[in-house]
């Protein structure tokens, strides 16, 4: 059955971790949660393929984990707080993961954050339905730089 359309699917660049994704990604998230124990982190590092066999994962989910394709993991039902434990196992911070997901270099991402972050202007809605009404006041937003160009 295809995923039921949700109002929040209209938000660009966002995978909302809802009940449907939670069901689908149970194996991803249980794998990530297992990395809270140091012995498991060591076992995973020693042999990733073997370690992953303990969890109910589809081939696509296994591949996303192996490639550290965080967006792929989220789309297939992973949650960012769980995925961060894989990042931590690799020695990475949340900001590192965020830059990877944003398709940005670490430097460019850091610079974007220091400059006030990714602007919401132009990043609210895929359909345009979520954009504020174009009154005289709100059109000011269109002159703001679009954060996505920096991402």
């Amino acid at each position: 059955m295809p995923r039921k359309a949700q109002d929040y699917d209209d938000i660009p660049g966002t995978f909302v971790f809802d009940a449907e994704r939670s069901r689908q990604g149970y194996g991803i998230n249980m794998f990530c949660a297992s990395l809270m124990k140091d012995e498991n982190r060591k076992a995973f590092r020693a042999n990733e393929v073997e370690y992953l066999k303990q969890f109910p994962l589809t081939p696509a989910q296994t591949e996303a984990i192996r490639k550290r394709d965080y967006n792929g993991m989220l789309e297939l039902g992973g949650n960012i707080y769980f995925a961060a434990k894989l990042g931590a196992t690799d020695g990475h911070s949340f900001q590192h993961l965020a830059a990877v997901m944003a398709g940005s270099t670490q430097e460019a991402y850091l610079k974007m954050m220091l400059a006030g972050g990714r602007s919401v202007e132009g990043n609210r809605s895929k359909s345009g339905k979520g954009d504020p009404p174009k009154t005289g006041k709100s059109t000011r937003g269109s002159r703001h730089r679009s954060g996505s160009k920096h991402g």
Partner: protein, 306 residues
């Protein structure tokens, strides 16, 4: 009688905890964040709450995807810091207040808030980072802390209105507790941020500042913000700001804004912080007898105004 005298909120970014733990708070990037909480620590040293009720969210640490409670009240005697994947934070064990927590649980469940009672629970940066920001880094936290974990990880979290009403119910519970305790509500999380997906890095200062304004002046307006708007405007993870409404719901309708701080960024997140006091101000720290006397005086004053 126990009563809630004030509320405070603070963001709870893990990188803030890491900066404390690795002693980088004096670096310019972090000093900008930490300097905003100097005043708060001074306020806290004066306020000296007897108990803190800390509303926070767990980040896939105490609660996995196996069990996801919407509201989970920590009724244990203590809550150790968990290993979030980087090793446990070197912070004191959080000591609870099991008697007050049990009383709150019983009261709010009968008030139709079906929360989960938790007697064994570790706590993560969601709780310990705001404690550091408000108390500094003591060897022991200065008072008992009751953790209230709110699910904001699995969509949908409770609505803002539900959170606000839970705050009201907690207040009622606290006020029916016989011991003379001064209780501080601490709301954590936010402000705007998105740490997942290609839109990661989203910040919306305009939304955040309006949220802070209304937290003081018009919280009812905030209770009507739908989840879609939080996620669209403040980022997928910005939705955790609903937790601040539990804090606000537990305060008087009219409050005094004592202090506010806002800066961008800490790692991926806009940092927001506010301290609100109820107008029927608790008297300066005094003995029980004194406090009763002051209360009596205040009643007299109130009566004389009528």
């Amino acid at each position: 009688m126990a009563r809630i005298f004030a509320g405070a909120t603070s963001s709870h970014v893990p990188a803030i905890g890491a900066a404390i733990d690795t002693k980088r708070t004096e670096e310019p990037y972090w000093k900008r964040v930490f300097s905003g909480f100097e005043r708060s620590k001074e306020w806290m040293a004066q306020a000296k709450p007897d108990v803190v009720i800390a509303i926070y969210n767990d980040h896939a640490n105490a609660f996995s995807v196996e069990i996801v409670p919407t509201f989970a009240l920590g009724c244990a005697a203590e809550f150790p810091p968990v290993d979030e994947g980087w090793g446990p934070r070197p912070v004191p064990v959080v000591k609870g207040h099991p008697e007050l927590a049990a009383h709150i649980a019983q009261s709010v469940i009968l008030d139709e808030f079906d929360l989960t009672v938790v007697n064994k629970m570790g706590v993560d940066h969601g709780l310990t980072v705001p404690l550091n920001l408000m108390f500094g880094s003591p060897t022991q936290w200065p008072c008992p802390i009751i953790p209230l974990a709110v699910n904001v990880v699995l969509y949908p979290p409770p609505t803002g209105h539900r959170c606000y009403m839970l705050g009201r119910a907690i207040r009622k519970a606290v006020e029916s507790y016989p011991e003379d305790l001064r209780v501080l509500m601490l709301g954590t999380g936010g402000m705007s941020h998105q740490i997942s997906g290609p839109r990661a890095g989203l910040i919306n200062s305009k939304f955040d500042r309006a949220f802070l304004d209304n937290l003081t002046k018009d919280p009812q307006k905030l209770t009507r913000i739908p989840h879609l708007e939080y996620m669209r405007e403040a980022g997928a993870e910005g939705i955790e700001m609903v937790m601040w409404l539990i804090m606000r719901g537990a305060l008087d309708d009219e409050v005094d804004e004592i202090y506010r701080f806002y800066t961008v960024p800490a790692s991926n997140t806009a940092v927001g912080h506010i301290i609100l006091e109820n107008r029927k101000r608790a008297p300066a720290r005094a003995g029980k007898a004194n406090r009763t006397a002051v209360r009596r005086n205040r009643k007299t004053i109130a009566r004389s105004k009528r």
